[in-house]
Subunit: 210 residues, 2 copies
DNA sequence: GTCTATAGGAGGATAGAC
DNA sequence: GTCTATCCTCCTATAGAC
């Protein structure tokens, strides 16, 4: 049909994807490091090692660039959820997810969304890929939350939506950065501390409340 | 000494302070609304109702503008701490402070710091007024935290510095905005929810753990 | 101290050759 | 699709009259 062999087309497409993947990795790191506003397209181009104009052949705008990185992270999250041991309790699954995202954050691989309204948020909201991923993840977490509340493991007096938002927020908790900067604890210790304050709270727990 | 009467000088100084206070109020609102990067000096000037060049007669840079607003909030916090009932327990004082900052945040009067490194953070770190206020507040909160841990009211296994950071982070918790956007809860309900997840955690508490 | 007008520079996006 | 060179907009900061 096109005059090119299927293998040739596939090879070229693979090269393209590989390059775009390299771009997304750079964007991901820079986004985690400096945030969307502070990240410049020139930096991305320099980091990838290509000219800025070439970047714009792959992604039409800076927002699309960041959006692709966010979708990439969302996919990694979905894969992580897929591979959680089925025998774990809902609460343990939730703890595992938060623990995993905290690890990403400490490793500088977690692009943090600007909490204020920005052009990036608008872009994300209108991205089907991103919203589909977000909905899927939220549905799965929401189901575990409600099961855990029904079992009495999570506080059933809290609206499940509030629990979900709390988990999302803790995944990017700035406390992680603060403690990291202090250099008094290892990454594992930091994660354990913040996990504990998230699920068990700041107040003392007695007896079987572990 | 100067040839002008004391009352005249005092009056002019008062006018100056009043205007600068009006500026700081505008900056405070805009900072809470859009954040430092998104806020433009033109907006501030328009909001105050003076020309941009006039702003720069009062404050030498955008960073100084924002810094003044942060110092102002810090002073309000110090006054709040001063007026806490002395008969309250340390934990109750801590709860009150976090509750107060959450109220500010929901009311759009809490300028949120960019967590990433920025020119503003640099400016704040080199501002004696700001750092003195921060140290004073941290010292007072830190003392309450350690007393509460010694009494067994707060979990003594948590490093007190981690507790302090957690309280600072919760004061600007993005969960507040998320729940506010959903419009399912009143501001008081939102504050109660987030306070609960902060101090009591997400997991169920039994018996005398209230 | 307040204004209008503008300098100066950063950064997102594009033109056009190859 | 990749490059170099350039455009254009926005924003901080200042010059200079009053």
């Amino acid at each position: 049909m096109t005059g090119t062999t299927p293998t040739k087309v596939s090879f070229k497409a693979q090269m393209l994807l590989a390059r775009e993947d390299a771009i997304i990795q750079s964007v991901n790191r820079l986004l985690a490091d400096k945030g969307f506003e502070a990240m410049t397209v020139d930096e991305v181009a320099a980091d990838v090692g290509i000219a800025k104009a070439s970047l714009y052949k792959h992604f039409p705008s800076k927002e699309d660039l960041a959006c692709a990185a966010m979708v990439s992270v969302m996919r990694r999250a979905q894969v992580f959820l897929d591979n959680l041991p089925t025998e774990s309790s809902p609460v343990d699954k939730l703890r595992s997810v938060v623990q995993w995202t905290m690890g990403l954050k400490l490793a500088g691989e977690m692009p943090s969304l600007p909490s204020q309204n920005s052009s990036l948020r608008t872009k994300l909201m209108s991205s089907k890929d991103y919203m589909d991923g977000l909905m899927d993840v939220s549905d799965r977490l929401g189901a575990w939350i409600e099961t855990a509340q029904a079992q009495g493991a999570l506080n059933p007096q809290l609206p499940s939506i509030a629990v979900l938002y709390t988990l999302y927020a803790r995944a990017c908790d700035p406390v992680l950065e603060f403690l990291k900067m202090g250099e008094l604890f290892t990454h594992d210790q930091i994660i354990a501390l913040v996990l504990s304050t998230c699920f068990e709270g700041l107040e003392t727990r007695h007896r079987q409340d572990q």
